[in-house]
């Protein structure tokens, strides 16, 4: 999946909400320097990103005649097949729903955490930021095994519930959407917290004083001043998390259920399991399209709700 890379280039815009003023035309010599500076990036992006993307788009409009056999054509048949088949539509709905759920969960957990780190933690700040980064240094596979130990039928959670007599038999968490949500929320919490914390750091503490001075209590000050000012950070974090969950391959595979199909494993199944490259390509392209729509919509929302954010 490539949605994450599309996202990375867009997320910076979320905070500003609009196109920046066009810079004045540079002299020839300086334009040459700019071109040279862009070369390394282009050298990587063109062969390893744009070219594969082009192949993907081509595969999605060619006709799949048999497993492993694509026939050159220009047809939307594959898309039609994918979009009219409940089997695929359910997979898209699952993926979209999980992406949304994890985005909301990480925002709900991440916002108070980011707020605490920035405003209240004092000398514990460094420790807390370490706690946030530390999981990123551990391989995702290692963390998945940790979650398996915790969520398995004989794992920590179920042992506790059974021991307390709260349940008669183990609750199914692992290899079900619930366990996958848990693992994803844990995995993507840092990329939600960091942009939010950055937005909170950027807002002037004098604004809180001004609000209190003008008669607002601490709660009203939070909802009328602090929360609106961190909105660009929340949107940026949400875009990152949404894209990451949408394209996540490992967690659905290791923590999820085969009966609850998700986008990335589905593409893998089509491409590798069934040699159905056309379907795989069409699903991938639709995934990118979903991501693009979500990003554009959220950027529009920011521009609407926070026109002031452009210059921040």
């Amino acid at each position: 999946m490539t949605a994450a890379s599309v996202d990375a280039s867009r997320v910076g815009d979320a905070g500003r909400g609009g196109p920046r003023a066009r810079p004045a035309r540079l002299p020839v010599a300086e334009r040459a320097v700019v071109a040279v500076m862009l070369l390394p990036a282009l050298a990587v992006l063109v062969p390893f990103f744009l070219l594969p993307m082009a192949v993907l788009v081509r595969n999605s409009v060619w006709i799949q005649q048999a497993p492993g056999l694509l026939v050159p054509a220009l047809s939307l048949d594959t898309y039609l097949m994918v979009l009219t088949d409940f089997f695929y539509l359910e997979m898209f709905a699952n993926t979209f729903g999980v992406s949304l759920a994890v985005t909301v969960l990480t925002a709900l957990i991440g916002y108070p955490f980011a707020y605490f780190i920035v405003r209240r933690s004092g000398r514990w700040r460094a420790v807390l930021i370490w706690c946030l980064y530390l999981p990123l240094l551990v391989s995702v596979i290692a963390r998945v095994f940790g979650w398996i130990v915790i969520t398995a039928d004989s794992g920590l959670i179920n042992a506790t519930l059974l021991g307390l007599g709260l349940v008669e038999e183990p609750v199914r968490i692992l290899y079900a959407p619930g366990g996958m949500l848990l693992g994803m929320t844990h995995r993507y919490l840092p990329i939600m917290v960091l942009p939010i914390a950055a937005a909170i750091v950027k807002s002037d503490p004098a604004l809180i004083r001004a609000s209190r001075d003008l008669g607002s209590g601490p709660v009203a000050t939070f909802f009328r001043v602090e929360l609106p000012l961190s909105l660009p950070g929340i949107i940026a974090g949400a875009q990152l998390v949404f894209a990451a969950v949408l394209s996540d391959f490992v967690l659905p595979l290791l923590l999820g259920s085969t009966r609850f199909r998700m986008l990335a494993p589905a593409i893998y199944d089509e491409a590798v399991g069934r040699m159905n490259w056309g379907h795989a390509a069409a699903i991938a392209c639709l995934g990118v399209a979903i991501m693009a729509v979500v990003l554009m919509t959220s950027n529009t929302v920011v521009r609407r709700l926070a026109p002031w954010a452009r210059a921040l």
Partner: protein, 386 residues
Amino acid sequence: MTASRSRPADPPPAAATAAASEAPAPVPEDLEIFRISKSFDRVRVLEDCSLRVARGEVVALLGPSGCGKSTLLNIVAGFERPDGGDVSIRGRTVDGDPPNRRATAMVFQNYALFPHMTVRANIGYGLAARRLDRRETAGRVAEALALLRLDGLEDRYPNELSGGQQQRVAIARAIATRPDVLLLDEALSALDKTLREAMQVELSLLVRRLGVTTIMVTHDQREAFAMADRIAIMHGGRILQVGRPDEIYGRPKTAFVVEFLGSVNRLPGTVTPRPGGGVRLAGAAGLDVALPAPATDTGGTPTDPSGLAVYLRASDVDLASAPTDQHSAAPATVTLVSLLGATRRIVASLGDHQVISERPDTGSSPAPGDAVYLAFDPATCHVVPQ
């Protein structure tokens, strides 16, 4: 705004220090600061500060950075809690009240305008917090916009305004709440000089027209003198002297106050008591002058004159080319001459000491190396405890 609030007819109470606070005040007080102390991490930043401010009065807290003036303002606003002492607003102690329950409004140094709100919403913020109805809010916002000549900018965001306009919005936002006490925390210091001086005039007129009791914090002597009815000079966490600008300038009580208020010379020499009152300064280069008794709180002459210093403002020093009949004249040599706009600064050496004179420029002046005579009126000397 409440233009009906009358300005006090009598001059405000002089030096409202702890000692003077026993005398009844002639006008109702809007603000009383009583024996405030405050430490941060065991560093004393305020010590026993007392101040009474009459209704409608403008008082400046003037002092160098780190003197505690902003901390005192923050204690009045409720942002900091004092270790000891009380703050009363309109006769009611507000020590337990958070900032949002105090009838104070502050104009912050960097304005602290809400970047996510338009000018209209910024000015209406304090009114919304007070749950005023929509029509009342709109009326008061319009009034504040008009008072600060901000009409037409209602729908702009702060980042679309110039520094001067942002300053006006910050003032409008504070006065729209009709505070009992308006607090200005270095409110004009972010503006450039020309704009700052224009705003000093405009703001002085505005607070007097509204009759709002105002405390302003500044490190700029000119700003304090230009705007305030009374000035409290602060240093090292203490209020050294409170008084009208002419009192502060004319009768400074301590060496710090004299030196802080600008270009002065400390006259070298030994101070001894003079029979019949006053003191005598026997200085370098034959300088020998009889001086009036120093200003003290009690009015008497200190028993130990050796703890006194004699200051003379540069504007009171005349460097004449011929000896004058003044007995305070002493020969000196010019070392440096410079023109400071309307005044000319002449530095002359008197023995081992440099004496600075700043007088209106007359067009002719001595050149470096010229012999001159230092002349001054002993009555213009300030004899203060050092």
